[in-house]
Amino acid sequence: MDEDEALTPLHPNYVKVVRLTSLLFAAPLVIAALILEATGVLPRGAFLVPVLLLAMWLVIRAPLRRYQARGYQLGDDRLRVVRGLVFNADTVVPFGRVQHIDVHQGPLERAYGLGTLVLHTAGNHNASVALPGVAHDDALAMREAIRAHVKRETM
């Protein structure tokens, strides 16, 4: 597996899922800021404007950047997962070391037909490597492919 090879991007719906998650996180902050604004303790907009800007960045810009920073590469005998905007991690798990495989789907992911593939290894570091934001069917197909590989190697 070469680092030069292009990474497979995640499913575009992943941006929407992350945006919704960020929205759920940012909404209480914005509501709190609105209430503070209504009480009129601080000068007009002194608190509300920065909070709104931060919330907009969190909901609109950050998910896109995160999506662009992530990617994966499915090789013949290994999976490479790249993630992280500020702290970048580039993990490779050889199929020969996979103990078991999960395909996880949260409610938001289900709404957009996405899934998270989780590979478990015996290592203490990176005991489970998660690949979120792939189409659920793709995740299932990848699981089958990896499992077939594990089985073939073991028999």
């Binding site: 597996m1 680092e3 005998d77 290994r78 500020v86 702290f87 970048n88 991690a89 580039d90 993990t91 490779v92 798990v93 050889p94 199929f95 020969g96 070391r97 996979v98 103990q99 290894t121 015996a122 290592g123 203490n124 570091h125 990176n126 005991a127 490597v129 594990v150 190697e153 073991t154």
Partner: protein, 510 residues
């Protein structure tokens, strides 16, 4: 005691009858303090022996009864494919552990069971500490038999031709510590932890003390107090007092170190048998662990700042089975490199060859580290030297503070310079080596085949300056090589992945 376990499989067995006595003593020990607390707390002890004796007798009878019932209801069986354990008075639990899932059989003797010659047998499955299967208190011979039986079954599973292993087979002694070595080790384990404990206790039981010990004035009053005897004693006497205080500290530290070491490592023996490395140690709690060599994932060779000057090192193995809380087993706590080398050879690992190509971390990583450790201190020094006098701080305090902070910054920057000469890593055809540290360097050796995953991590600075940390997943631990050039990290990852992917996990060589 003479019962041979391999001869009669598939038959329910009980633990030794003595074990219920041991169990009763152990739980009595736990019940005594709450009972005393209850007696004192309710004021019942004022009634005298009329109340105390029956209460204690009732507690004793209860614990004895429960221990007896627990013993009656506990049974185990060595089956063809698994060990079954049934226990519980009202809630019955039946557990089956397949032989191939048992990583390790460890035998442990705490003080009380040891007085009765009883052993606590623990089957480690790697599933996690609390859920391990234990057979509590069988005779030493039975424990040894159980261990042999598990080994024999595992051997049969693996297709080995060994029919039934002899109970005691010849072992090759790899490492042992006599009392002299133990005492030397204890000296190096110098510890002032007892003072921390005392301080903690003082805080807990403050209300019992005649005065508030954190009150500085009170101390002054006490020391200089009525008659001002300390002040009048003169400089010489004060100096002698100070020397005595330091000597007491040193003695207590030494005594703590030696006592802890002797308690933990008394009678340390490491042997090589056909089943792996066997380690026995402990004064009050005697433990006996067998580590199968093929389960050894990595080695850690470490030392201390002072003991290194005398050539003492320690060796631990990282394996799937866990030792107490730490993820590794100490196999040589304190020995010379010449003593450690045969142990390393016995685990199938090797020290790096003399002509191995060591690689160094990136220069920009060092520079960043040096800047990170020194710059805040230099800023602090500037603040102390320039700003503090203007804000009205006494000027005679500002100069030493500035100089001190600058000196510390210099030392930390210098440390990075030295680290750049000591931190290094290398790769040979079977292993990964990582050496870290300047004054107390440690060397990690991992088998390339047994690595689980490889990760390249970069923070924002690292990305800009082109270096990365390389982190390997190891079963039972992890191995990190920090601050190496990105190209180097990728090259190592490529090479290591090539060797990992070639061999499946379940077929890792033994």
């Amino acid at each position: 005691m003479s019962e041979a376990p391999a001869a009669a499989p598939d038959e329910w067995r009980r633990t030794s009858p003595l074990s219920f006595v041991v169990g009763a003593v152990m739980s009595l020990r736990n019940a005594v303090f709450p009972a005393l607390a209850a007696l004192v707390g309710t004021g019942a002890w004022r009634q005298g022996w009329v109340v105390i004796v029956p209460t204690l007798a009732a507690i004793g009878a209860f614990t004895a009864l429960f221990s007896y019932l627990a013993w009656r209801k506990f049974r185990y069986r060595l089956g063809d494919t698994d060990i079954r354990v049934e226990r519980g008075l009202l809630n019955r639990t039946a557990r089956s552990v397949p032989y191939e899932r048992i990583q390790d059989v460890s035998l442990e003797q705490s003080l009380v069971p040891r007085l009765f010659g009883m052993v606590d047998v623990k089957f480690e499955t790697g599933a996690g500490g609390k859920d391990e299967v234990r057979i509590r208190y069988v005779t030493a011979a039975e424990a040894e038999g159980l261990r042999e039986a598990v080994r024999a079954h595992q051997g049969a599973e693996a297709g080995a031709t060994r029919a039934s292993a002899p109970v005691e087979e010849p072992c090759r002694l790899l490492f042992a510590m006599d009392f002299r070595r133990l005492a030397t080790f204890g000296v190096f384990e110098f510890s002032l932890v007892v003072f921390a404990v005392l301080a903690g206790a003082a805080q807990q039981f403050e209300f019992l003390l005649p005065f508030d010990i954190w009150n500085y004035r009170k101390w002054i009053e006490l020391l200089a107090g009525p008659g001002h005897w300390l002040e009048e004693a003169g400089v010489a006497a004060q100096a002698i007092g100070a020397v005595l205080a330091v000597a007491v500290l040193a003695l207590v530290g030494l005594a703590t170190g030696i006592a802890r070491t002797v308690q933990r490592d008394y009678g340390f023996r490491l042997e090589e048998s056909s089943k792996g490395l066997r380690r026995r140690r402990g004064l009050f709690t005697r433990s006996d662990v067998i580590m199968p060599v093929h389960r050894v994932q990595a080695l850690k060779l470490s030392t201390g700042i002072v003991r290194r000057r005398f050539g003492w090192h320690g060796l631990s193995v990282v394996s799937l089975a866990q030792d107490a809380k730490a993820g590794h087993h100490v196999v040589v706590p304190f020995g010379t490199l010449d003593e450690i080398a045969p142990v390393i050879a016995a685990t199938g690992f090797a020290l790096p060859a003399a002509d191995i190509a060591w690689r160094l971390p990136s220069r920009s990583f060092r520079l960043n580290r040096a800047l990170f450790s020194a710059v805040p201190l230099v800023l602090g020094a500037v603040a102390a030297g320039v700003l503090a006098p203007r804000l009205g701080a006494p000027s005679q305090a500002a100069l030493p503070a500035t100089v001190g902070l600058l000196a510390l910054a210099g030392v930390l920057a210098l440390r990075q310079l030295f680290l750049s000469r000591y931190d290094r890593h290398a790769l040979d055809d079977k292993r990964v080596f990582a050496r870290r540290g300047w004054l107390a360097p440690r060397l990690d050796i991992a088998s390339r085949l047994k690595l689980q995953s490889v990760e390249i991590v970069q923070g924002p600075l690292a990305r800009r300056r082109g270096y990365a940390a390389l982190v390997f997943g190891v079963a039972g631990g992890s191995l990190e090589i920090g601050g190496i050039p990105l190209d180097d990290a990728r090259a190592i990852r490529g090479a290591v992945l090539g060797s990992i992917a070639a061999v499946d996990f379940s077929r890792l060589p033994g």
